[in-house]
């Protein structure tokens, strides 16, 4: 009787699946995992120190530069349904940026938010209301004009982070799969203010503007957004954003805006030209490989900019008109020529763990000038170390060939508080 029982036990032991040796090692390692208790904080911030060198196009002379930046964000619940948001940045550069003071404070956001109900919200204050699904050029980012106060990098991510919102009253209502947002941003001042600690309301609120944004999910893969934007002195503009998955690794995106408006030239030179219908478009594809490399290819079109012939003519025309047009396009964060190509590559954990390699190429297709930017960024536990390199190349008068800085590099250390 005992023998069959022993045989059964032996068979059972044979059937039993012990964990594999590798699995056992992993489980023993997991046993040693420390208790980590992290609670969410209302604030976050970092300090960034940078030094580098830029080479002037005119004489090839290299100039050293340094920068110190402090960035703070606060998102505090004041009472059930009430939140206060503050985002501020202070940059000190040596030598100073252009004609600006060496220290520039950027009040990015400061607003109160009230969640009236689960699905209804009201916000009041300076808000960075940003729209658009493209990476290099955002035709539906209607409130971008005048928002840049301190330029620390040409990386599109940096341009979007380090900018000022507009003072506005904003309301949002949500339902299952959809949302409607309405905002009104009044005129508060006439002119931008370059004083170091100015809130610079004249840069973001120098005319009355309003915007409606509606989105509705059609399917799991399609969630379009429509926008309607108006500002004093210009007809309403329509906007449209759409993204969809392209297989397991791709995302296709399309961003369009259009409406009757004055041309960029007319706005820059303040001519009495009438309105005509202009389209702006950014469309492309992002693809991620299995080893965490994401490539984005985007084609951009600005129908309000000078066409190829006019752009080429301007490059060889009066310097004052050229400078005025370029300054306006930069202020409006718009493309000075009609067509551009944008390529961005982001490789996460490239070659070694915690090392990110990023690369960007912007090509003006009218004059073939280009901006090339490369970055290697290593993440430590509470800090980042980055090395950035930038080249502006092109013929005289071209978009990037005119930049006074021919090439530059900078090393950046960012420490998180």
């Amino acid at each position: 009787m005992r023998l069959p029982m022993l045989m059964l036990l032996a068979i059972a032991a044979g059937v039993a699946q012990p964990a594999l040796a590798d699995d056992l090692d992993a489980l023993m390692l997991a046993d040693t995992a420390p208790e980590i208790v992290k609670t969410s904080r209302d604030w976050q911030g970092y300090m960034e120190a940078a030094f580098g060198e830029s080479v002037a196009r005119a004489d090839g002379v290299a100039t050293a530069n340094q920068r110190l930046s402090f960035d703070l964000q606060l998102d505090k619940s004041l009472a059930p349904g009430w939140r206060a948001v503050l985002a501020d940045r202070w940059d000190v550069t040596w030598p100073a940026q252009g004609s600006e003071a060496s220290g520039i404070n950027t009040l990015k956001e400061a607003y109160l938010s009230w969640q009236v109900q689960d699905e209804r919200l009201l916000d009041l204050g300076r808000i960075n209301a940003r729209y658009g699904v493209a990476t290099g050029y955002n035709p539906t980012d209607f409130l971008r004009t005048g928002a840049l106060r301190s330029l620390v990098s040409v990386d599109p991510g940096s341009l979007k982070k380090n900018r000022m919102g507009s003072v506005m009253l904003r309301g949002q209502t949500l339902w299952s799969g959809g949302s409607l947002t309405a905002l009104y941003s009044p005129k508060l001042e006439d002119q931008p203010n370059t004083a170091a600690f100015s809130a610079d309301l004249g840069a973001t609120n120098n005319q009355s503007r309003w915007l409606l944004a509606a989105s509705q999910q059609w399917t799991d893969k399609l969630s379009p957004q429509w926008l309607l934007f108006g500002e004093a002195g210009q007809s309403a503009q329509l906007g449209f954003n759409l993204t969809t998955l392209a297989g397991e690794a791709g995302v296709a995106f399309l961003e369009w805006s259009g409406g009757p408006s004055r041309s960029l030239w007319s706005q820059a030179m303040n001519t009495a030209e009438g309105e005509a219908f202009h389209n702006r478009l950014a469309t492309g594809l992002s693809y991620t490989t299995a080893n965490k490399l994401t490539l984005t290819l985007e084609v951009d079109y600005n129908g309000a900019a000078l066409d190829d012939a006019a752009w080429t003519a301007l490059a060889h025309g009066p310097a004052l008109a050229y400078r005025q047009y370029r300054n306006w396009a930069q202020y409006a964060q718009d493309m000075p020529a009609q067509q551009a190509t944008f390529v961005y590559a982001a490789w996460q954990d490239a070659l070694v763990n915690h090392l990110d390699l990023n690369a960007m190429l912007r090509v003006n297709r009218a004059d073939q000038s280009r901006l090339t930017w490369l970055e290697a960024r290593y993440h430590f536990s509470r800090s980042d170390l980055a090395l950035q390199w930038q080249v502006n190349s092109g013929s005289p008068g071209s978009e990037y060939g005119t930049d006074p800085q021919q090439r530059a590099w900078q090393a950046v250390l960012r420490c998180y508080f």
Binding site: I36, R83, D118, L174, S179, S215, D220
Partner: protein, 258 residues
């Protein structure tokens, strides 16, 4: 004669009992193990990920997650807020099947991600939030066997083979071991379409949470490099009201877990 009648009655009773307690189907076993991992109401928890490479701790992340089952698909949709590390704090993610959005409060950008894009090291975006496997996979039973669990105890398990019902899921097929006595998921092996082992997961440290014994830790071992190990630890379980209107891209900037 009376003995024969009694034996016949006992046999009938046994057969009837067998009929009324038929062995559960593989799909029912899988659904029962889903119910062990996931409450049948909307809930929130904290997921702390600790990542090791070659025995050394290399990364930690803490996420606050709210999850709610979609009334149509019964699949979970989740809002995720990064708590740590500092460089990622307050970034947000919406996970709703294939609809995957990432929001960075610094640049106010809602970026659509493809399923292949990963925000964390080894764990895929789908690994960090909960899923009902029975909704996405067809289970077949491949026998019963004893299996060592995450605490190196032998457990008698159903062995199930799960085949993806749609190509829209993270893994082509899965092998899964589920305790026969209480339907606790014990271990799973995840495979690509080519049959390559992508990762192994152990569900362990069962504790009573939200009314049931649930695994509070998942150990993930990379299929190619067994020295790449991620510990996912679940804490702060709480029942949470999550309105359907919150589970969309346009609510992401507003989401702030309690």
């Amino acid at each position: 004669m009376r003995r024969l009648i009694l034996q016949t009655l006992l046999l009938c009773a046994t057969l009837c009992a067998g009929v009324s307690h038929a062995a559960p189907s593989a799909q029912e076993i899988l659904a029962a193990s889903d119910a062990v991992r996931n409450p049948d109401f909307s809930f929130g928890l904290t997921n702390t990920l600790i990542e090791y490479r070659n025995g050394k701790q290399t990364d930690t992340s803490t996420l606050a997650i709210y999850s709610k089952a979609d009334p149509n698909s019964s699949q979970f949709r989740s809002l995720v807020r990064f708590v740590a590390p500092a460089r990622d704090a307050n970034k947000l993610m919406l996970y709703s099947g294939k609809d995957l959005w990432f929001y960075d409060p610094a640049n106010k950008a809602s970026i659509r991600l493809s399923p292949q894009q990963r925000l964390l090291g080894q764990a895929s975006n789908g690994d960090v939030v909960t899923v009902n496997l029975a909704k996405d996979y067809q289970a077949t039973q491949a026998g019963e066997e004893d299996m060592q669990d995450g605490e190196r105890q032998l457990r008698h398990c159903y062995k199930l083979t799960l085949a993806a019902l749609t190509p829209d899921v993270n893994y082509h097929h899965i092998e899964m071991w589920i305790d026969t006595s209480n339907k606790h998921p014990i271990k799973a092996r995840f495979f690509s379409e080519s049959g390559k082992l992508l990762k192994t997961a152990y569900f362990r440290h069962y504790q009573k949470q939200l009314g049931a014994e649930r695994p509070t830790e998942t150990v993930i071992i990379d299929g190619l490099d067994p020295n790449w190990v991620t510990v996912m630890r679940f804490s702060d379980w709480a029942k949470r009201e999550v309105p359907d209107a919150w589970l969309q891209r346009d609510y992401l900037p507003r989401f702030k877990p309690e």
